[in-house]
Symmetry: C2
Subunit: 200 residues, 2 copies
């Protein structure tokens, strides 16, 4: 089945998104075509505007608008003495949703992965070092990176690199997930949870 | 966590698509922002162009461009003596993928559904009657509608309505599972159903 060209192109565009296969892309394209012309126009505009207006915060590399510092970096109530290092703005958002963390962030935009040709120079690591040199009152760096091979490699690399700049470097605790089942928990996690046990 | 406004708007737009929840919409928006500016521009353009250029074929109401007849209606190799009635362009595409059918189509753009306030007048039914009156050499109408309550009602309605205009009215063979969706049916099953069509 050949669709008309603009429709084929539209479906191809939707296929570029993560988790969107041939059928989903088709469904999305048909859905879009069922909208009012004004809604399609609005969608197109919002995409264009997002691409034009959204930049990285020059300090933490979170999303920001108009080339200025982001809402977290400019928030006077945030604790400027702590920087939490994350691999992506999505991980940043996940931490923000806990409502527990009041410090600043630094988004690396990836993890060290030699297999994929991603080294420290491809990440916002030198910018983190510059940031620490510039704001000398940072007292703690929290490395909040996923406990994958790449996350572990990046954690190790950053721990060594940042030692001269800051007295306290921490990482997220390993342990059981809330509501999980001990029986279902993998051995490594269980071993780490045991190792990190706390007084009751 | 408050994202910057253009990003929030972008996520909201993606949520409008079927099967896209909060997390998927966020993932899609982040993915889009990771593209080159030129790619974002292209995506926005393609959306806009699809909305502007894609119209219905004036004969069969499949998607077409520039107000002209669609590629199927203008294809000289198609059998003009048979019209297959489908509820949507997606169902049409599913039938085309079987490579079994060589006739024309007619897209109703819905099914009769009194519960949703959709009657025959809300569908492209009068246009089908006009089409049959105009091209008197149509010898068979195939009603390829999903075997749901609405599909059955529409099949029954069309069978009675079209009797005076055409000698042979058929429907897809059962072989389709009752309550299923044409779009989700695999090509082989759909081809068998087409092959075993029965008189109404």
């Amino acid at each position: 089945m050949d669709y008309v060209l603009p429709l084929t192109e539209l479906i191809e565009q939707f296929r570029r998104f993560p988790g969107v296969g041939a059928k989903s892309a088709q469904r999305m394209a048909f859905q879009l075509l069922s909208w009012d012309k004004s809604d399609i126009h609005k969608f197109s505009d919002i995409v264009l505007r997002a691409g034009k207006d959204i930049h990285y915060c020059p300090d933490c590399f979170n999303f920001s608008t108009g080339g200025s510092l982001c809402a977290i970096c400019t928030n006077e109530k945030r604790d400027k003495k702590t920087i939490c290092v994350v691999s992506s703005a999505r991980d940043l958002a996940a931490l923000e949703r806990t409502l527990e963390y009041k410090g600043l962030f630094h988004v690396l935009h990836g993890l060290i992965s030699p297999m994929d040709g991603i080294g420290p120079d491809n990440l916002k690591i030198s910018q983190l070092v510059q940031r620490l040199a510039k704001y000398s009152d940072v007292q703690e760096i929290i490395l909040a990176l996923s406990p994958s091979t790449e996350g572990e490699a990046t954690t190790l690399y950053l721990t060594r690199l940042l030692k001269p700049f800051v007295s306290k470097i921490t990482r997220l605790a390993f342990g059981l997930s809330v509501g999980s089942d001990i029986e279902q928990t993998d051995e490594l996690t269980l071993a780490r949870a045991l190792e990190g046990r706390k007084d009751c």
